[in-house]
């Protein structure tokens, strides 16, 4: 099934060419083989998957017409998403062995649709990173070049789709953690409008920025998964109550007459020439389909990175306070409470997590709050306003997803250079707008992603532009060398 789509597999399940058990067996075999080099999984949930496959088989038999297209299809979940009774570590030693007693909303919606979960995928610890090298359980290989990173923080979720093990997976995106690994692994990755997908059950990194979203091979598949997970959830007060606009209904309407903006700040000198060439070629494909291209400006782009690295660590410093060794996760036993706290957190957290907790604690400290956190919130508002102004001129923004293609493991040992990876993705998180990365070419055999951004709650427009581009190109049909080998 290596590069089959959800739509294709759903049809095969309904006309009897395959069964949920057969799809699961394929997926598990594929995972087993690819894990030799990829390290994309932290837990393989065979037992859960078998139960779900059997339940899906019954559902397909009982009501094949009303069963969700996701029914019986294997998938994987980033290990920051809680599943009842399944070890969920967030890529951290702190949570080694932790089994949540509940399942999060987005995941439950997939399970209710008949999804078959084959496992929990590797990621940067607590979703902090852009290469998945910050996982406490070792780095993930990129299926296009095993020596290179898959991007991050949802590297495992991107890699397993690119490797052909499962047709889709869920990741989370706080500053680009779905879109950037999607670009680096040559798959489709979507970060919905903030508030569209419930965060209940997502182990929080930065609450005001986190969103759950899908990795798929095609834009249409992405719409299927997004429709299944999105919508208001009373358990998440930040989830939006307004009715969902199904992206499938406008998916095929094309881009003719659409005004597409290209922010000049997003193609700065930091952009690799190969990436620039691929993305510019993509612009012209869209132009060829009837869209008009317009240079626009988002002047606060350079400060957005700084703002992000104040707000995200500030929230993280508070969100991660619960990992104190008292109730769950790992504890280092010490005679005094303070020593227990210190030793537990010292042993449980990795370097990058500690760095961000320190940054955030500092930014919120009495005497520094106004200069850092408050100021950052002001600039965040400015970033949102700049997007709003641009979206008064254009319907959507097109730009690179990442300034570079997948880089060799260990090459970004300086945290600042790693932070630069997210320079064109994180503004969307600050503004809460939807964004997608869709494959748009290769540089020396490594994938490049085209990023499409739209105004808040115009998620369907993102799908429409990305789908129009995808239908005019074939990059999404190219199997990664790893998919070929493992198949």
């Amino acid at each position: 099934m290596t590069l089959d789509t959800i739509g294709g597999l759903a049809a095969a399940l309904r006309d009897g060419r395959t069964t949920p058990r057969a799809l699961l067996a394929d997926a598990l075999t594929h995972v087993e083989r690819s894990e030799q080099g990829l390290n994309a999984y932290l837990t393989v949930t065979r037992e859960l998957a078998e139960q779900q496959a059997d339940a899906a088989a019954r559902a397909l038999e009982d009501h094949p017409d009303t069963a969700s297209p996701l029914c019986g299809i294997p998938m994987a979940l980033k290990d920051v998403l809680c599943v009842d009774g399944i070890e969920t570590t967030a890529g951290s030693k702190m949570l080694q062995g932790f089994k949540p007693p509940y399942t999060g909303t987005a995941v439950q919606r997939l399970f209710d649709a008949g999804a078959v979960c084959v496992g929990k995928t590797n990621c940067d610890e607590f979703a902090m990173g852009s290469s998945t090298e910050n996982s406490a359980y070792g780095p993930v290989g990129n299926p296009w070049d095993i020596e290179r990173v898959p991007g991050g923080s949802s590297g495992g979720s991107a890699a397993t789709v690119a490797a052909g093990s499962v047709p889709y997976s869920l990741g989370t995106d706080t500053g680009g953690s779905i879109r950037q690994p999607a670009a680096l692994c040559g798959v489709v990755g979507f970060k919905p409008t903030y508030g569209r997908v419930s965060r209940y059950g997502l182990i929080a990194f930065a609450s005001s920025l986190d969103q759950i979203g899908p990795f798929t091979r095609t834009v249409e598949d992405c719409a299927l998964v997004y429709s299944a997970i999105a919508g208001h959830d009373p358990r998440d007060s930040t989830s939006d109550p307004r009715a969902l606009d199904d992206p499938l209904t406008s998916l095929h309407t094309g881009v003719a007459g659409m005004r597409l903006g290209i922010p000049r700040e997003y193609l700065g000198p930091g952009t690799e020439p190969g990436v620039r060439a691929a993305v510019e070629a993509a612009f012209h494909v869209l132009e060829g389909q009837g869209a008009t291209l317009h240079e626009v400006s988002l002047p606060s782009t350079d400060v957005a990175l700084s703002v992000y690295y104040i707000i995200a660590p500030a929230e993280c410093s508070s969100n991660l306070a619960r990992y104190d060794g008292v109730r769950f996760g790992n504890r280092v036993e010490r005679a005094s409470l303070t020593d227990m706290y210190l030793q537990t957190r010292d042993a449980g957290f990795g370097t990058e997590v500690k760095r961000r907790i320190m940054l955030g604690t500092y930014a919120l400290s009495s005497g520094y709050y106004d200069a850092y956190y408050r100021q950052a919130q002001k600039v965040r508002t400015l970033v949102s306003q700049e997007f709003e102004a641009v979206f008064n001129e254009v319907d959507a923004i097109v730009c690179p997803t990442s300034p570079s293609v997948a880089f060799p493991m260990g090459s970004h040992d300086d945290p600042l250079s790693m932070y630069m990876c997210d320079v064109v993705t994180l503004p969307a998180n600050l503004a809460g707008i939807p964004g997608m990365s869709v494959p748009c070419g290769f540089v020396d055999g490594l994938p490049v992603g085209l990023q499409v951004l739209a105004p808040r709650f115009e998620d369907s427009r993102v799908f429409r532009v990305a789908h129009a581009y995808e239908q005019a190109t074939t990059f999404h049909t190219m199997p990664s060398p790893y998919a070929n080998e493992a198949a």
């Binding site: 998440d236 619960r322 919120l364 709050y369």
Partner: protein
């Protein structure tokens, strides 16, 4: 300002005492502040009323309890506060084992309400204390140490049932000048919270808790002195005593030429003194910032008006009305409006045809004594409010006399029953037949010639013996005021 009489002598005149109180009151909601768990944390087994949300497990999110918001607004309105149109929640960050998230969801710079006041009587005068703010937050869990305190405990057990119970913080202005005023402030605040049905008023179990900030300064000074926060007081009396003790301590330090340090001190009831718990240097930096998991609240004028309209009549206003409407004394009116239940009972009695004064006398007298004796309010007694009304109607109609009514009340309070039926069945109706009583009066005079002679000679007490004789002759059922009148008439005639 009044109440200086209770000020410890040492501080009189040389220093002005400045006190401000912070009250934490749990709200009487069914569920917790941010999750559907029952807010009743006492009757469940330890950690029995918990869920992933109040346990602070990874990935959970808070959802707002609307009832808690309404109760806080209700309180704020009862305390004459403004309700700003926009309010938000913040995280107060600190580590402690009874705080599972590592932060408390509270309110920092934009609380639900601001700028109110509370009026209360101290030594016969009305004192007004400003209310800085009333805001909403969540309670923490509770800990049981194997040892006195966490630091020296060999182990500690944590119960998170209380974690997430809605907690309202009522911050008072530093307008109080004496420990007595502080105590009266709390008494009135406590009364109002119970009146409006937002708090059960249990100080012992900690559903109503008070911390006090106290400082001394030279009389006439406008700057505040060094502030000490006093904690661990779990009765109104303890608050007064702790503040008195603290005034004495601070006066001693200042008189000796020393300087006070800003600190938190704990009241040790058994030793009758405060001890230092934490200095300013050890104070937490709570790193408050807006709670990103909860959108800000916008409370419209319509909402606030609706809550305002739902407020019951408050004790002070009700007492004033009782005086005017029922002709009660200020004292009786205050006693009868002490709790909402008592005031409701009083109005029910009057509404059921019992004269206002009669109802007041019985409710504040015998009924209150029985309630105290049996540790059971009238409303839950066998007699109930309706039974008492029937009984008092019998008294008012002259069907039974006072002593009979007292005996019946004591009996029915416990066993319950229908007063009218009982009076009928036992033949307890008083003898008010003038002709019959005159015969008995004459018989008593004839049988007690010495007493009759004494009375006629001007010895008023001698009447007692004659009255007892008539009373005994009726088996205690005589209409005694009538007997009194008849005796006097007959004795003066003969």
């Amino acid at each position: 300002m009044t109440g200086t009489a209770t000020l410890p002598g040492a501080a009189l005149g040389r220093y002005e005492v400045v006190i401000g109180l912070e009250v934490h009151a749990q709200l009487l909601t069914r569920s917790k502040m941010f999750c559907p768990c029952p807010a009743d944390y006492i009757s469940a087994a330890p950690n029995g009323n918990t869920c992933p949300v109040c346990l602070g497990l990874p990935g959970v999110l808070p959802t707002m309890n609307e009832q808690a918001v309404e109760y806080t607004v209700r309180t704020a309105l009862a305390l004459h506060c403004e309700i700003p149109p926009f309010t938000k929640f913040d995280r107060k960050n600190y580590f402690y084992p009874d705080l599972p998230k590592g932060y408390q969801i509270s309110q920092y710079d934009l609380p639900l309400s601001l700028n109110g006041y509370l009026e209360f009587p101290v030594g016969g005068e009305t004192v007004r204390c400003g209310i800085t703010r009333v805001h909403l937050e969540e309670d923490t869990g509770t800990m049981h140490h194997a040892g006195d305190v966490l630091q020296s405990a060999t182990s500690s057990l944590i119960d998170l049932n209380r974690c997430g119970v809605p907690l309202m913080e009522i911050v008072g202005e530093p307008d109080l000048r004496t420990p007595e005023a502080a105590r009266e402030y709390l008494v009135r605040l406590h009364q109002i919270l119970m009146y409006i049905g937002v708090n059960d008023g249990n100080l012992e179990k900690g559903s109503f808790r008070c911390d006090a900030n106290i400082s001394l300064r030279p009389p006439g000074a406008t700057e505040l002195g060094v502030k000490v926060e006093v904690k661990n007081m779990n009765s109104f009396r303890a608050v007064q005593h702790a503040l008195e003790s603290e005034i004495e301590r601070q006066t001693g330090v200042l008189d000796a030429g020393g300087t006070l340090v800003q600190e938190t001190r704990g009241w040790v009831e058994t030793q009758g003194r405060t001890i230092s718990q934490r200095s300013k240097e050890q104070a937490h930096d709570y790193r408050y910032f807006p709670e990103p998991d909860l959108p800000p609240l916008r409370l419209g004028a319509e909402y606030v008006d609706r809550v305002r309209a739902s407020l019951p009549e408050l004790p002070e206003a009700r007492a004033r009305r009782f005086q005017e409407q029922f002709g009660l004394t200020a004292y009786d009116a205050a006693v009868l409006t002490d709790t909402r239940e008592d005031a409701d009972t009083y109005e029910a009695l009057v509404g059921a045809g019992v004269p206002a004064k009669l109802a007041a006398n019985w409710q504040t007298g015998d009924v209150a004594a029985l309630a105290n004796e049996h540790r059971m309010p009238l409303q839950q007694s066998g007699l109930g409010v309706n039974g008492l009304a029937s009984l008092l109607r019998l008294v008012d109609a002259g069907t039974i006399n006072g002593p009979t009514a007292k005996e019946l009340l004591a009996e029915l309070y416990v066993s319950g029953g229908n007063p009218e039926a009982l009076v009928r069945d036992r033949g307890l109706a008083q003898v008010s037949d003038t002709a019959a009583l005159i015969a008995l009066v004459d018989a008593a005079i004839a049988a007690n010639p010495a007493a009759a002679a004494d009375f006629r000679a001007g010895k008023q007490q001698a009447l007692g013996q004659l009255m007892r004789a008539v009373k005994d002759a009726t088996g205690g059922k005589a209409d005694m005021p009538l007997v009194n009148r008849l005796l006097r008439e007959r004795l003066s005639e003969q």
